[in-house]
């Protein structure tokens, strides 16, 4: 009996992926060339699964800010802000994020995962009730495990179910904390945030929105879904990441609540980990400045998302419910999804393979995400390659084959 015996079922599935060709969970790029291209197995590949929504990872200003910061402040902070102190850059970045969101307070975390883990698990204490969307990201589930509160799952994007579950709690003490996401990472659907905000107001709950995939993408000023649908005043806490639109790593949370600062001395995933290094703080400061002054990139990534969505829909693929920067092709058969993913790699297109239980509804997904940096030609090429391989492998029925018209 090995310590790994408990993973016997995982081993079988993981080893089977090796036999399919490349293991999607072990793929290694020889070199990443730009937000949209890399070298894989010695060949150029188009990247359609990076979450690099605004394409800022190679932005000259961000790179230079990062390099200067290393010379000025060193490669790392070597400790947490509570134990080892805060660098000037951390404070500047926090003020900048607070200003971007128009909120009183902002806190920066070392990763987006830790921001979620820390914010939710600390806010939801013993006797409180945490209500999370059923399709929530793993970090939200993990926050629930770390929290002493009772965790209740409501049906995905279903405000009535949320209301029903809040009503079942009537008469019980404790705060009600509702968590949802601006843009869900697997299918790219948005939350019905107006309706959820109405339920929250009516039932007297707090609302946390994870805008990890929607920051810089949705809303006139890039503040995410809450801005786009006009319910920012109802959102008590916005949480997000620097690893997607802002092209680095790290997480943040903002709020107007007066005692928000208490989290700095109560939130363990903030207190007991090293703070963000100067290079990251500097590039995020630069990329956030860019996003705050210019929403062109957000407009472009949405247009690119619509182009990819339209192209794949016209080809006949079964897609997520709405166009956006995330476009997911649903494939009912797991083995076919793996084969299709491998065929796309061979044809020079990288997308994400997502398998149950990491996906909603036990579906297998070929999940792609677009960047503002993609050209229309790159998108059309991806559509063409996906359609060709889709027909060849039987993901698409050849009876329905029609010439894929150029989008737009």
């Amino acid at each position: 009996m090995s310590i790994f015996s408990k993973f016997d079922h995982v081993r079988t599935a993981f080893r089977a992926l090796d036999k399919s060709g490349r293991n999607p969970f072990g793929i290694r790029f020889d070199k990443v060339l730009s937000p949209t291209e890399a070298i894989l197995e010695g060949r150029h590949i188009l990247l359609f699964g990076t979450n690099n929504y605004l394409g800022l990872t190679f932005d000259r200003t961000c790179v230079e800010a990062s390099v200067s910061a290393i010379y000025e402040a060193g490669t790392g902070t070597t400790g947490s802000r509570i134990a080892n102190g805060t660098y000037a850059g951390h404070t500047v970045l926090e003020q900048q994020i607070a200003e971007f969101y128009g909120r009183r307070g902002a806190m920066v975390f070392t990763t987006g995962y830790q921001a979620i883990l820390g914010l939710i698990s600390t806010l939801a204490g013993r006797g409180d009730h945490l209500l999370i969307d059923a399709d929530s990201h793993a970090s939200i589930y993990d926050a629930g495990k770390l929290s002493a509160a009772e965790v209740i799952r409501f049906r995905h994007n279903d405000p009535q179910d949320l209301a029903r579950r809040l009503r079942r709690l009537e008469g019980l003490p404790g705060s009600r904390i509702v968590v949802t996401e601006g843009l869900f990472s697997m299918l790219g659907d948005t939350a019905p945030l107006c309706e959820i905000a109405a339920v929250k107001r009516e039932m007297g709950a707090y609302l946390i929105v994870d805008e990890a995939h929607s920051m810089g993408v949705l809303g006139k000023n890039g503040r995410g879904l809450a801005e786009a649908v006009g319910v920012e005043a109802d959102v008590d806490f916005v949480v997000g990441t620097f690893s997607k639109s802002l092209g680095a790593i790290g997480g943040f949370a903002v709020s107007d609540l007066p005692d928000f600062d208490l989290l700095r001395v109560t939130c363990r995933p903030y207190m007991f980990t090293a703070s963000l290094p100067p290079a990251v703080v500097a590039s995020v400061t630069a990329s956030l400045r860019r996003v705050a002054t210019d929403n062109l990139l957000g407009t472009r990534v949405l247009a690119n998302g619509r182009r990819l969505y339209r192209g794949l829909a016209q080809a006949g693929f079964d897609l997520g419910p709405e166009p956006g920067p995330i476009v997911a092709v649903k494939i009912s058969d797991r083995e076919l999804a793996i084969e299709f993913w491998n065929a796309l790699i061979a044809a020079g297109i990288y997308v994400n393979l997502a398998l149950p239980p990491a996906t909603p509804g036990s579906q297998s997904l070929l999940r792609s995400s677009v960047s503002a940096a993609h050209t229309e030609m790159q998108i059309d090429r991806a559509v063409q390659i996906m359609a060709d391989n889709g027909y060849r492998l039987g993901v698409l029925s050849s009876d329905l084959r029609i010439a894929v018209p150029a989008a737009e």
């Binding site: 059923a134 589930y141 629930g144 495990k145 009772e150 965790v151 209740i152 799952r153 049906r155 579950r165 079942r168 709690l169 149950p356 239980p357 909603p360 509804g361 036990s362």
Partner: protein, 84 residues
Amino acid sequence: MAIRVENIAAQIVRIVETRIPAGVPVSAQTRIARDLGLDSVAVMDFVMEIEDHFDISIPLDRIAEVETVENLAYVVEILLKEKD
């Protein structure tokens, strides 16, 4: 099993039967994940149907302890009692 738990288990068995191919035997001893071939998310989705049926919410930590239909029936019974 107490009468009430037995009754709850029977109701759960009936709900399970609507989700699986006819003829597959289901009882209070059926292990929800292993015998029905459900992954962790599918188990939670199944539990939502049980929650609707009994008009209760089952917190995730309680679901984590459940293996069989009978275990689930005990959890439901406790929550129904708390509600009353």
